[in-house]
Amino acid sequence: MNKIAGSSSTLSKELFERVGRYRHKVFVETLGWELTTRNGEELDQFDRPDTLYVVSQDEQGNVNGCARLLPTSQPYLLGEVFPELMNGAPVPCSDDVWELSRFAAVDFNSRTTSALSQFSSEVAVRLLQDSIAFAAEQGAKRLITVSPIGIERLLRRAGFHAHRAGPPMIIGGHPIFACWIEVRQPGA
């Protein structure tokens, strides 16, 4: 697995477009989420010049995973769209709390990975570890994520401590929830 991390300006234009198409394939075509799309790419208002991405590619250069990181001191998905997932608690707003969103690790070129799961492979575990490490490099001490509840299993497998911020909500037939992730190395 090859990992590339950076903003839209540091990723190549071609790779960034492929990430947008990959997200469209995962979240819109496979999971059926009703999201903003543009020219076959899934991008929204939180894909800004300062947004950071972690992208995983296989040996042939196919995107097989992605994650998006936003500081909560700027507008972010949970704070703007899903504040109710905090169960009444104020949404985080701090330079050392970052949001992880649009996490996916579906390998569409693998016969052994379910296209119905974002989280089933070893790629997913490594991508999550890389994403959290990259957030830590930016100064994150804790992450908050809006995710399908399956990500809790992945966090455990990857050795991270996670806590729900509130109960899941059923949105579009799928339970999603907000989850705190403590930023530290697995096993520390």
Binding site: N87, G88, A89, P92, S94, D96, V97, R111, T112, T113, S114, A115, L116, S117, S120, K141, R142, I149, E152, R153, R156, H161, A162, H163, R164, A165, G166, P167, P168, I170, P175, F177, W180
Partner: protein, 128 residues
């Protein structure tokens, strides 16, 4: 940044709270791609429960389906650690310990009758 991103509660207080079923499902992975020589050895899934009242409690855990004790039906068995927004302690002054909390939550889950409601829900959800 808050120091404690969870709801702290004593074991006694937790025993007085009632939980209601929110959603359950089968794991999709085991059924989506049966190729590559994979053989499903067990039917597994998850269940989610929430507590009424304040503070809102949320708990979820994985289960495995097997034969019932009478040999005629099916039964669900919790597997693995529960996932929650809780830190359960034995006494009000006890130190927070996530490992201990997980053990206490497992005791609470295994004492409760969650299987019946979960099976009913699963039958409605997949019986089409």
């Amino acid at each position: 940044m808050s120091d404690k991103p969870y709801v702290r509660m004593t074991f006694d207080a937790m025993q007085r709270r009632s939980l209601r079923h929110l959603v359950s499902a089968l794991d999709e992975d085991e059924f989506a791609t049966p190729g590559a020589g994979a053989v499903a050895s067990a039917i597994t899934g998850y269940t989610e429960w929430v507590g009424d009242g304040e503070p809102v409690l949320t708990m979820g855990w994985d289960w495995e389906m097997g034969a019932g004790a009478d040999g005629g039906g099916v039964a669900l068995r919790r597997v693995g650690d529960p996932r929650s927004n809780l830190c359960v302690v034995m006494r009000p002054g006890a130190a927070d310990d996530i490992e201990d909390s997980s053990t206490l939550l497992k005791i609470l889950i295994d004492r409760s009758n969650w299987q019946e409601e979960t099976l009913r829900y699963l039958q409605r959800r997949y019986d089409s």
